[in-house]
């Protein structure tokens, strides 16, 4: 019996990431994210109990956000409220496991929300392994000011996700991107920041100058981007806290663009164009000292550090077409890693270090794909008229990117996809969106 249940709980998802050692972890309630999907894990999350009158609406909202996070992964399936037999009316009440077993809820999440006199919100929760009849991990509580309630819900969902999959989570994170409005030949672009699910959107720039390809700092406190504010594309750095920006690369008469932070946040690598030649440079942010990392007449751009900071993957057309190369972080000869059909660009190193996401153009189509850092095991996750600009979720399991539709009415939107290629979803934004950069877990 126990064996059978455990086996049934072992959902098998995408490949290559989950070390086998993780199988040895704690309880029987477990999604193993490994090979081949069977079915999302059914769970129930009855409305969190409001422990004060002020908390009644909030309790429902918190519950909805938790369910949206979990179901949105494609790994979990919520059993609708109407099917529930038991009601949870008190956070302290014992769980009637038989009632949840009867509707095949394998995981049960219970919780409560309190609003205190000063407007602070407290959310507490427990996760239950229904078939084992035990609690999975321990009850926890999170608190914040009233306007932080979404983060509390994301934190609860992060805990549930993490306890059941054994993976680090990603729901309590933000995305910076380029918000787009207007037709193709008159498009207005603004930097915007939002929660990973599209909520709490805030604009960081107005639309007076073209802005491109923002990138979060490792700590999420700064954003690098390219702006035409001076009439010329230049690398800017913006402080998220006070929304103040400054030009980072100030050499007159040269274009600088494609900036990315080093993992320790002290260095920026970027492209600079001199004459017809575009090379990758590094700048120490504190001193402004610059160093050239590539030479030669090719277009070298779109650099991305390995998580340990020792290497940089970038794209170059030195072979005649856009391909991916890896070089030491101090610069030097690159080793080509992409050899498939077509052109490869915008490489982004996974936060786990094992994979590189990229944009591929082949036979008139665009793809988002991943490959190992030696170029092997290339897998294309998407295909469309124009997909580009992948960015990794903080746990390296999900990729967000931008997709543009074809034709005169073409418009951009943000999408996310599992690194298995499953669960392609559009990310809700109020208007068009491009060039997402997924920030760290907060």
């Amino acid at each position: 019996m126990r064996q059978a249940v455990t086996a049934a709980l072992m959902l098998v998802l995408s490949g290559i990431l989950m070390p086998l050692a993780a199988l040895a972890q704690s309880g029987p309630l477990r999604i193993e994210i490994t090979e081949g999907v069977i079915e999302p894990l059914p769970y129930a999350v009855p409305g969190f109990v409001a422990e004060s009158f002020e908390a009644q609406q909030l309790a429902q909202q918190v519950t909805q956000v938790i369910a949206a996070d979990l179901t949105g992964t494609g790994l979990f399936r919520e059993i609708p409220r109407e099917a529930h037999i038991s009601q949870i009316t008190s956070f302290a009440s014992p769980i009637a496991f038989a009632d949840w077993k009867a509707i095949n809820a394998q995981a049960l999440i219970t919780g409560a929300v309190t609003v205190d006199g000063a407007g602070g919100v407290v959310v507490k929760f427990r996760v239950w392994d229904v078939f084992a009849g035990t609690e999975l991990g321990q009850g926890m509580q999170f608190s914040s000011t009233a306007d932080g309630w979404r983060r509390l819900a994301h934190k609860v969902a992060d805990q549930v996700y993490s306890r059941i999959t054994g993976e680090t989570p990603y729901f309590d994170s933000r995305v910076v991107f380029v918000s787009e409005t207007g037709p193709k030949n008159e498009r207005a672009k603004r930097l915007a920041i939002m929660d990973y699910d599209g909520e709490n959107l805030q604009y960081l720039t107005d639309s007076s100058a073209i802005v491109l390809a923002p990138r979060f700092s490792p700590g999420g406190d700064r954003v690098l981007y390219t702006s035409y504010e001076t009439g010329f594309p230049r690398v800017h750095v913006l402080s998220v806290g006070n929304v103040q920006s400054r030009i980072l690369q100030t050499t007159e008469g040269v274009m600088s663009f494609a900036p990315r932070f080093s993992p320790d946040g002290t260095t920026v690598v970027y492209s600079m164009t001199q004459g017809s030649n575009t090379d990758i440079w590094a700048m120490d942010i504190a001193s402004g000292a610059t160093r050239r990392l590539t030479t030669g007449p090719a277009i070298d751009t779109a650099p991305s550090f390995s998580p340990d900071g020792s290497q940089i993957v970038f794209e170059s057309d030195r072979s005649g077409s856009q391909q991916l190369y890896i070089m030491p972080a101090a610069g030097g000869e690159g080793t080509r890693i992409s050899f498939g059909q077509g052109r490869y660009g915008t490489p982004v190193w996974s936060p786990r270090g094992d994979l590189i996401a990229f944009t591929k153009q082949n036979a008139g189509r665009f793809h988002i794909g991943v490959m190992r850092t030696d170029g092997s095991e290339e897998r294309l996750l998407t295909a469309s008229f124009l997909d580009e600009g992948p960015t990794w979720a903080p746990n390296g399991r999900v990729i967000m990117f931008s997709r543009e539709t074809q034709g005169a009415q073409g418009a951009t939107a943000l999408y996310s996809v599992d690194i298995s290629g499953r669960n392609l979803r559009r990310v809700r934004t109020p208007s068009g969106g491009s060039d997402p950069s997924w920030g760290p877990l907060q």
């Binding site: 492209s271 017809s276 600009g389």
Partner: protein, 175 residues
């Protein structure tokens, strides 16, 4: 497949290029004296109009302010070079003007690569103008990558016009 589409694109680029320059170069295939010839006929011309050979309107419409490129290329073809001959002559005849060359790409490409590609195109134009005697101090270039298409369809007819370098002239500091 790839060769076929490249060949088609080239044809389209040539056709458009020929159009742009028809007025000027059909009359004067040598490409040397157009602007000078214009300067001679100065009576009855409204200053600043397209008939005024010292106007930016004349530069745009008669000399031709743009050249087009093949897919993923920054090489100047014969038509582009002919247009740039005219631009160089005009800039030499009108030394008070400065020029910014804007490089552009079509939408078939990743954003940052296209920025660098547009820069290559604009730089090719700038170097050509310098080789024809225009002072480098009067010129600079900027790339817009695929950010500023003039045509919005997702077909080669539009792409061909978007793969361009446009010479934008402005009155210099001395006026």
């Amino acid at each position: 497949m790839k060769h076929t589409s490249k060949a088609l694109m080239l044809v389209a680029a040539l056709a458009v290029g020929a159009c742009t320059n028809a007025d000027r170069f059909d009359n004067d295939p040598s490409g040397g004296g157009g602007a000078g010839a214009g300067t001679g006929q100065s009576t009855g011309i409204i200053p600043g109009s397209a008939n005024d050979p010292t106007s930016s309107a004349y530069f745009q419409q008669t000399v031709g302010d743009r050249v087009l490129f093949a897919v993923d290329q920054s090489t100047l073809g014969p038509e582009a070079r002919a247009t740039l001959e005219g631009q160089a002559q005009w800039l030499l005849t009108n030394p008070d003007y400065l020029a910014v060359i804007e490089g552009h790409a079509d939408e078939q490409g990743t954003r940052e690569y296209n920025l660098a590609l547009g820069a290559r195109r604009a730089n090719a134009v700038m170097e050509y103008l310098i080789s024809k005697g225009v002072a480098g101090s009067r010129l600079k270039f900027v790339s817009y990558g695929k950010e500023r298409p003039i045509e919005v369809c997702s077909e080669e007819a539009c792409y061909a016009k978007n793969r361009r370098a446009v010479t934008i002239i402005s009155a210099g500091l001395t006026g």
